[in-house]
């Protein structure tokens, strides 16, 4: 090969490169790089041919070849969009689809996630977390909450008793609701008071898909001068909107809990309904979901805590955390929450 032929070949390679790089749709730059600049690429082979050309002619040809190479590299880099920062192409045997290093993945329980979110909603509304025991006395679990002894309202909450007695010699029990913390909070501080409490409760009931002898509740209490049921409705509505979005509606229906009067049950408009609400499996086509209990604190409860009902009024509202968790995570059997099957738990991050 002489210098002229080599020059022609070089310009053919350059032309061919120019055509290829201008092609529409664009060619993969790695492919072009391999074809022209790779170890067995067209330009590389041509440069190798220089060894057959006399030494004195080789030098300028080499410079030409290198200039072409630099140009091609720059254009390729331009095509890659990273203007020459990409560095060399990876080795062909690198399989990027191999799995990454499995860092251990733990999980928080769905009830914890739910409880945390509900807690956050209470905090935003200015409620401070209060505490109360799970092993409780009859007074704080029932009597002070306007469940007198031998009152049929006690049938609503079948109770576990433990082999310990309180100071008055009465058997201690496992709290049947989180409302004991209402009494504890009012005993500990003077009004105004705005508190909430999430926690575990117990009922002596057999376990099935929607009942458990152990479950969780969260409830809030607000006492101040001149608190009205309108305040309660606003608070509950804002609470639910925080959790389920501002499009959600709430409505109150009359209901009964011994420690409130008037008492209400709170429905939320169904957020799970797709079009054709008649077939919604969550709300059964009613458009409403029963979510909470609420009401104005009963004067007997205020009196029990030495708050003067003539001066103070307030509201309380609460919910079962399992109810929220089951709706949110699409769980139809409550037992799943206590089975602790890691195949289930690890789905929730």
């Amino acid at each position: 090969m002489n210098a002229t032929v080599w020059k022609e070949k070089l310009s053919a390679v350059r032309d061919s490169f120019s055509v290829s790089i201008a092609q529409k749709p664009a060619v993969n730059p790695e492919e072009l790089e391999l074809r022209f600049l790779g170890r067995k690429g067209e330009l590389a082979l041509l440069l190798r041919d220089l060894k057959d050309i006399p030494l004195e002619e080789r030098k300028p040809l080499g410079a030409l070849g290198n200039a072409a190479k630099t140009e091609m590299e720059a254009r390729l880099a331009g095509l890659k969009g990273a203007a020459g920062l990409s560095g060399p192409v990876v080795k062909a045997d690198l399989d990027l689809t191999l799995p990454g290093v499995p860092f251990p993945k733990g999980s928080l329980h769905p009830l914890t996630h739910t409880m945390n979110r509900l807690t956050e909603a209470f905090l935003k509304l200015g409620f401070t977390m209060a505490d109360g025991p799970l092993v409780e006395d009859d007074y704080h679990n029932f009597e002070a909450l306007n469940f007198p002894p031998y009152h049929p309202a006690r049938d609503m909450q079948d109770t576990f008793y433990v082999d310990l007695k309180d100071a008055a010699g009465k058997e201690l029990l496992l709290r049947t609701h989180t409302s004991n913390t209402q009494i504890r909070a009012m005993e500990n501080q003077d009004p105004p008071i705005r508190v909430f409490h999430p926690g575990r409760v117990f009922r002596n009931e057999a376990v099935d898909a929607s009942h458990s002898f152990t479950f969780h509740q969260i409830e809030g209490l607000y006492i101040d001068a001149g608190v009205s049921m309108a305040d309660l409705k606003w608070t509950v509505d804002t609470f639910m909107k925080d959790l389920f979005g501002t499009a959600v509606k709430t409505r109150f229906n009359p209901s009964y809990f011994p420690f409130v009067e008037p008492g209400a049950e709170v429905d939320m408009s169904c957020v799970f309904c797709k079009a054709g609400g008649d077939r919604c499996p969550v709300c059964k086509g009613t458009g409403w979901l029963e979510m909470m209990g609420a009401g104005m604190v009963h004067p007997n409860v205020l009196k029990a805590c030495k708050y003067d009902p003539a001066k103070w009024s307030g509201f309380a509202f609460g919910a079962g955390i399992e109810r929220f968790a089951m709706l949110l995570y699409g769980i139809s059997d409550m037992r799943m929450l206590y089975e602790n099957d890691l195949r289930v738990l690890k789905q929730v991050h």
Binding site: P99, V101, P102, F103, P104, G106, S107, L108, H109, L111, T112, T119, L123, G126, F127, T128, M129, D131, P133, L134, V135, P149, Y150, H151, P152, A153, F160, Y161, V162, D163, L164, L174, R200, N204, A206, F213, S228, M229, A230, D231, K233, W234, T235, R251, F252, N253, P254, Y256, P258, E261, P262, G263, M296, P299, S313, N340, D341, L342, R343, L345
Partner: protein
């Protein structure tokens, strides 16, 4: 509670349709859980008999059947498989009204059919076998209207009753609610309106505090009082099994109708005869209606005759004084008992009845004469010769109605509404038309509403009356600062850290069995015990979270998993005074990590150091966190295999390997289980809940390069790293001394080990010189040699 539409609507003038009635009950807080159509509503169907069955000439699955309707024989085409000659069947003639419409004359596969043999569904009947035609009982009269064999079409409503709704526990009472709230006109039931002398059987109330009223009617000549079919039908629809004896069924009927439980005594069987309402005395007992010998506790309210108790007041009557087919003279009891007394008796005797259910919730004291008269009227209607010979109404206490002063301002203040005075007054008048104008209104509470005690109760009635939607959703309540408790903050932080380190959070039950306690080496006599557990598996309260976590481990291993990292935050309980319940955080690891290995390299087996590392991570940056050798770790740890964690002065629980016997007793195949538990309470005392307190003050770092040197020494095995580490304190400019390698074996003498440490030095002022670093390394080696006899490894 079940309500029949036909029954309740009988008390309302121009009653609403069933669906509307149900919706109206719901709106005022009486939740209708189910509205169901019952009974039959067809016409033109009679009792027919199958005389002959032939094959249909053109269809294999059809038959030609000759049906006799008592007058003629007709040929019909029938496709049912359960037909047989001689059967009595519901036969619908052309023109019959069935559930799917009017029956037309039909020609089926070329043969005319003159009627249809019906299935239960075609008759609109629910609760019958619907797999073929409905076969009627053999004693059904041939040719009779088939409607007479079935209850008439009706609706049943299942209404959820809340404990404060004692005033709603009957058809009449619910009708009254609808009338009060929606302005319907209430109709009354027909009662016996005659008079009779208040003499004959003495009725003495010896415990007026427990029995507020006792109305008694004595009737003679009631023998053979049969329950009329219409009443039996209603009782069946209520789910009550009518006995056929009107004296029994009638009492139940009036209870369902008016809400007043009644009882009939056979007067010939009462000693005296006399009625004494008194407390039981020690040693008394009686045989209940369901033939059980009931020992009475002193103080229980009983209805006694001259000699002995004949009924447990409000709960159940006695067998010996019960009415029977031969009963001719009865005493109808219609009383008002103190609700807690009835509940107490019912609980103590372990008997719940429809009667005790109503008495517990408070019956209307003004209702007793009306209910007794209602039953008397029903008996008189059914038994022409019967006579009322005594009417006694004992009221030991005056029925003073309670009066609530209602000011519209208070109602509006409580509800947050601006309801006009007139509207509130209209609500009060709906209950009590006699309310006089002139504020504050004196609202005389109707006797049936024992639950209305104060202004809040009245406000609720106003809200129910107008509708809860009248209450606006507005508030001007002030903002308040909020915070969480320290134990919540600590728990939340630990939960998040553990989850991000690969642990899954579990929620286990608080209850466990004696066997599980024993398996974990725990004493059941020290554990809190339930007095009334659901079962012996759920008898004790967990003294530690360990058993639940081990069960969860086993559960998951049994489902094919081979590696488990779990934790829980929950209560542990104890009988020790002051330590009844403590929040604990506990967890365990077992198996290979990463689970199932990885293509880049094998998995490591879980060991103590992994869990120890987790603990160090959890408490990184918490001042004073350290591990110490425990004086006594809980017995479920392998002896010598656990460390105690300390934060400040307090103990922060333990981390270590599970003991082999516990693993075996919990059915786990080995004890390569590493467990930690720490009390949240002691963590919380050392924890700073507030962010401003929690934020660590950041130390400046040196602007000059640090220098590190490795040092390998050989020393006796007995010296522990923890001791060595402490010895390095005081070496100038030492930033860290990190253990890089522990080696035993080749070239290391028996009973010795080689430790390689990396010492890093850093100064805030300057770059240390080589000579300085060498000198400091000399100091370190010197300490190791002096204190532990360590020699430089060559």
């Amino acid at each position: 509670m079940k309500i029949l539409y036909s029954w309740i609507s009988g008390f309302i003038e121009n009653p609403p349709a069933p669906e509307e009635l149900a919706a109206k009950l719901c709106r005022i807080g009486l939740k209708v859980e189910e509205l169901k159509k019952t009974g039959a509503a067809f016409t033109g169907v009679c009792v027919g008999r199958i005389e002959k069955i032939d094959k249909h000439p053109n269809a294999d699955k059809l038959a030609l059947v000759d049906v006799n309707d008592g007058k003629a024989v007709m040929r019909v085409v029938c496709g049912a498989k359960n037909i047989a000659v001689g059967q009595l069947i519901p036969f619908a003639k052309v023109g019959a009204e069935l559930s799917e419409g009017k029956l037309e004359k039909a020609r089926i596969r070329g043969v005319d059919s003159e009627g249809m043999i019906c299935s239960a569904a075609e008759l609109g009947l629910e609760g019958y076998d619907n797999s073929g035609i409905l076969v009627l009982p053999a004693d059904a009269p041939l040719g009779a209207d088939a409607m007479t064999l079935f209850p008439k079409a009706d609706y049943t409503l299942e209404v959820e009753m809340l404990p404060n709704q004692g005033y709603c526990l009957s058809h009449y009472a619910l009708a009254r609610e609808l009338c009060v709230f929606y302005g319907y006109k209430l109709k009354e039931a027909a009662v016996f309106g005659g008079e009779a002398p208040d003499s004959g059987v003495p009725v003495v109330i010896e415990a007026p505090e427990l029995c507020h009223r006792y109305t008694a009617i004595v009737m003679r000549g009631v023998k053979g009082a049969k329950t009329p079919e219409w009443m039996a039908e209603r009782l069946r629809a209520m789910g009550s099994n009518p006995k056929g004896n009107l004296l029994i069924d009638g009492a139940n009927y009036v209870m369902y109708e008016l809400g007043q439980p009644l009882h009939c005594f056979d007067l010939d069987k009462l000693s005296g005869p006399a009625i004494k309402v008194r407390r039981a005395v020690a040693g008394e007992s009686f045989r209940t209606l369901d033939n059980a010998d009931l020992k009475l506790q002193p103080g229980m309210l009983v209805i006694a005759d001259d000699k002995r108790p004949a009924a447990l007041a409000g709960v159940m009557g006695g067998l010996e004084s019960a009415v029977s087919g031969g009963t001719d003279i009865i005493l109808i009891e219609s009383a008002r008992f103190f609700p807690p007394a009835v509940r107490q008796s019912s609980k103590a005797a372990g008997i719940k009845s429809e009667s005790s259910y109503r008495f517990e919730r408070g019956t209307d004291p003004r209702l007793t004469p009306k209910a007794a008269r209602r039953l008397a009227g029903l008996i008189l209607e059914a038994v022409p010769g019967a006579k009322v010979t005594q009417f006694t109404d004992n009221l030991p206490v005056d029925l003073v109605p309670s009066v609530v002063e209602v000011s519209p301002e208070k109602v509006n203040a409580l509800l947050g509404t601006g309801i006009a005075d007139g509207e509130i007054l209209a609500c009060l008048k709906a209950f009590q038309p006699e309310v006089k104008d002139g504020k504050p209104w004196k609202f005389v509470v109707p006797s049936y509403r024992q639950d209305i005690e104060g202004i809040c109760d009245v406000a609720e009635e106003v809200a129910r009356y107008i509708g809860y939607d009248v209450i606006p959703t507005v508030s001007d309540m002030p903002m308040r600062p909020s915070s969480v408790t320290a134990s919540w903050a600590v728990s939340a932080e630990l939960k998040h850290s553990l989850a991000s380190l690969g642990f899954s959070e579990t929620y286990n039950y608080d209850f466990l069995s004696a066997k599980e306690l024993k398996a974990c080496g725990l004493k059941s006599e020290e554990a809190l015990e339930l007095k009334n557990p659901l079962s012996s598996d759920l008898q004790y309260l967990r003294p530690t979270l360990l058993p639940g976590l081990l069960k969860t481990l086993r559960y998951n291993l049994n489902r094919g998993r081979d590696s488990v990292m779990i934790f829980e935050v929950g209560n542990a309980y104890s009988k020790k005074p002051g330590r009844t319940e403590e929040i604990s955080c506990a967890g365990l690891i077992f198996g290979d990590f990463p689970e199932g290995g990885h293509w880049k390299g094998g998995a490591a087996k879980a060991d103590f150091y992994q869990l120890k590392g987790v603990m160090s991570r959890l408490f990184a940056g918490k001042g004073g966190f350290r591990f110490e050798k425990p004086k006594a770790a809980p017995s479920y740890f392998q002896p010598g295999g656990a460390l105690e964690m300390k934060l400040g002065a307090g103990s922060l629980g333990y981390v270590g390997r599970l003991s082999a016997p516990v693993a075996a007793a919990m059915d786990l195949k080995d004890n390569n289980i590493f467990y930690f538990e720490l009390p949240i309470g002691s963590a919380a005392t050392a924890w700073k809940p507030e962010f401003w307190q929690k934020a660590v003050k950041i130390k400046p770092v040196s602007a000059f390069p640090h220098i590190w040197r490795d040092l390998s020494v050989v020393l006796e095995e007995k010296h522990e790293w923890g001791e060595l580490e402490r010895a390095f304190s005081g070496i100038q400019d030492l930033a860290s001394a990190r253990l890089v390698d522990v080696f035993k074996g080749k070239n290391i003498p028996e009973g010795h080990k080689s430790l390689t440490m990396r010492f890093t030095f850093s100064s805030m002022e300057r770059t240390l010189t080589d000579a300085e670093v060498t000198e400091r390394m000399g100091a370190a080696l010197g300490k190791l040699a002096r204190n532990f006899g360590a020699k430089l490894r060559s």
